[in-house]
């Protein structure tokens, strides 16, 4: 699954960063690349969480529809 691969990438990357050094920034640094890379990784994780929430909401919605006594249960789906 694509998300799992991204997640594995993310974990490797995060551990790399945790051990990387932080020092003074140089004048010619380009903050754009780093922002781009981290965004892809965070979005992969956040996207997965978002998908789980949506599907969980649907599953809950399905069961609450099929059992009339729990029809008032609200779905988490957005």
């Amino acid at each position: 699954m694509r998300h799992l691969k991204c997640l594995a990438d993310a974990l490797v990357f995060v551990s790399l960063l945790l051990f990387a050094s932080t020092g003074a920034a140089h004048a010619y640094v380009d903050p754009g690349t780093g922002s781009y890379v981290i965004q892809l990784l965070i979005a992969a994780i956040a996207g997965l969480a978002f998908a789980v929430r949506i599907y969980w909401g649907r599953i809950k919605g399905f069961f609450s529809k099929s059992s009339p006594e729990t029809q008032t249960t609200e779905s988490d789906e957005q």
């Binding site: 960063l17 903050p31 781009y36 981290i38 965070i42 956040a46 978002f50």
Partner: protein, 460 residues
């Protein structure tokens, strides 16, 4: 001054710019932005954002008003009654502006567009609510594209909010120094270690800063990496919950527990309200600046009369409470702002022209200066003549409360310092202010030595 002048706040954007002509504000949309502009209006996004009150309203006017040949459209946007900046907002004001930006981005995605920037300066408070004012911020969204404004959102909103919430609310002032938002390495080093335990703050700030550093001098083919729409929605959702989770409780700041009422008997406070209200009705100003407004008790006398009231205080706790109260009541005429009068917002940015100083945004029709003079004259050693000059420069009418040296509040200010203020008397006040202003009325508050004045600037 030329009748047509381009505003320096919008020069960075090739899509178009703002200009004024004969006192009216216009926005030129350039040919370069044609496709995006047509999509914004044609897709229904503009209407949807109008329905939610998230984007400033505009009307299209004739192309003959265009300033250059590149013009595709000329717009006449609704005028923002008072321009304010993120370093003048309280915690919740910045938080509401952040949430608005994310809401607009989510809505834009539904219509196949994306925000190309997420600058806090693109948000203004209009009728009590944050509104996006940059109509040219939208680009077509291509599937797989990450959010181009992600870094800017973190720098302009998430980092300062996290610092205000977890480190010190006064760090919101970093926005005044860093015009493109708080650098993430700076935010990361100032935030307490425990913020690394939050997934959102760990990733969007700490790891983000590390990643910027790590890739600063490396060549990476980032363009080939795509990001699904679901991932983008997940990212926005995560940013939204991170922003919402940040809290700041305003208890314990200097003036927050200060009860305006404590200086007066119930009768005197009631009388003060009536006198100020009577003066307001007499002058009938359109714009009031309330200096040292505390939580806005007297500002509301003006705003409840439908007068646009800018309610300044130097204490972040007071401004926060003032804003929360206005938001709760749905007050559309009051704008609480964090301003230290002894060091008001300067003009900043390129050539000092991108963001206006406080004084450039005046003058007001009427200035409220209640129970403030002793803080200026005694706590800050400001001579009465300079205070009079300043007040005359920001408004044509003035409602002023003189607090004599015998007042218990002044006595408290003097309790730990030598009294070098021999010139601080009611008689000296009337003489000094009389050179600048005509005294139209003065009323002593019952059971108090304080005096309320209505003053009119000479020649106004």
């Amino acid at each position: 001054m030329s009748s047509k002048s381009a505003l320096p706040s919008s020069f960075r954007d090739p899509s178009g710019f703002l200009f004024t002509e004969d006192g009216s504000l216009y926005r030129q949309v350039n040919q370069a932005y044609r496709e995006s502009y047509d999509h914004l209006t044609g897709s229904g996004l503009y209407d949807a954002l109008q329905d939610s009150g998230s984007l400033i309203r505009h009307e299209e006017v004739g192309l003959e008003l265009a300033r250059t040949d590149e013009a595709y459209r000329v717009l006449k946007p609704q005028v923002v009654p008072f321009v304010s900046y993120p370093y003048e907002w309280s915690f919740s004001q910045l938080q509401d502006a952040a949430l608005l930006t994310l809401d607009v981005q989510k809505k834009a995605l539904d219509f196949g567009m994306t925000l190309k920037d997420a600058s806090a300066y693109n948000v203004q408070f209009v009728e009590g609510k944050p509104v996006l004012i940059d109509t040219l911020s939208f680009d077509r969204y291509d599937e797989g594209q990450p959010w181009a404004a992600y870094r800017q959102f973190c720098q302009h909103f998430l980092a300062p909010l996290a610092l205000m919430s977890h480190t010190d609310v006064r760090l919101g002032q970093l926005l005044r120094i860093h015009i493109d938002g708080v650098p993430l390495d700076l935010a990361s080093s100032l935030l307490p270690y425990r913020t690394r335990l939050s997934f959102a703050l760990l990733s969007h700030i700490h790891l983000h800063a590390r990643s910027q550093k790590h890739f600063a001098e490396r060549r990476v083919d980032v363009k080939s990496r795509k990001m699904s729409r679901l991932s983008l929605r997940g990212l926005l959702d995560n940013l939204g919950s991170a922003v919402k989770k940040l809290k700041w409780r305003s208890e314990g700041t200097l003036w927050n527990d200060y009860q305006e009422e404590a200086s007066y008997s119930a009768d005197a406070l009631d009388q003060k309200r009536q006198v100020v209200a009577g003066f307001l009705d007499q002058v009938q100003p359109k714009v009031v600046w309330d200096l040292g407004a505390n939580v806005g008790l007297f500002s509301r006398l003006a705003s409840d009369r439908g007068i646009l009231t800018i309610s300044f205080d130097a204490d972040p706790g007071c401004v926060e409470r003032n804003y929360l109260e206005s938001r709760r009541k749905g007050d559309t005429n009051i704008l609480p702002l964090l301003i230290d009068l002894t060091n008001p917002s300067p003009a900043i940015g390129w050539q000092h022209e991108e963001r206006m100083s406080l004084l450039e945004r005046g003058p007001a029709d009427l200035v409220l200066c209640l129970a403030l003079i002793h803080h200026l004259a005694i706590s800050n050693n400001l001579p009465l003549a300079l205070v009079a000059d300043f007040l005359a420069s920001i408004g044509s009418s003035l409602i002023f409360e003189f607090v004599p040296k015998t007042d218990q509040r002044v006595q408290r200010l003097l309790s730990t310092r030598e009294d070098i203020f021999t010139g601080y008397t009611q008689e000296a006040f009337e003489r000094t202010f009389g050179q600048r202003f005509e005294i139209q009325a003065s009323i002593q508050l019952e059971g108090s030595e304080r005096v309320l004045y209505l003053l009119r600037r000479r020649g106004a």
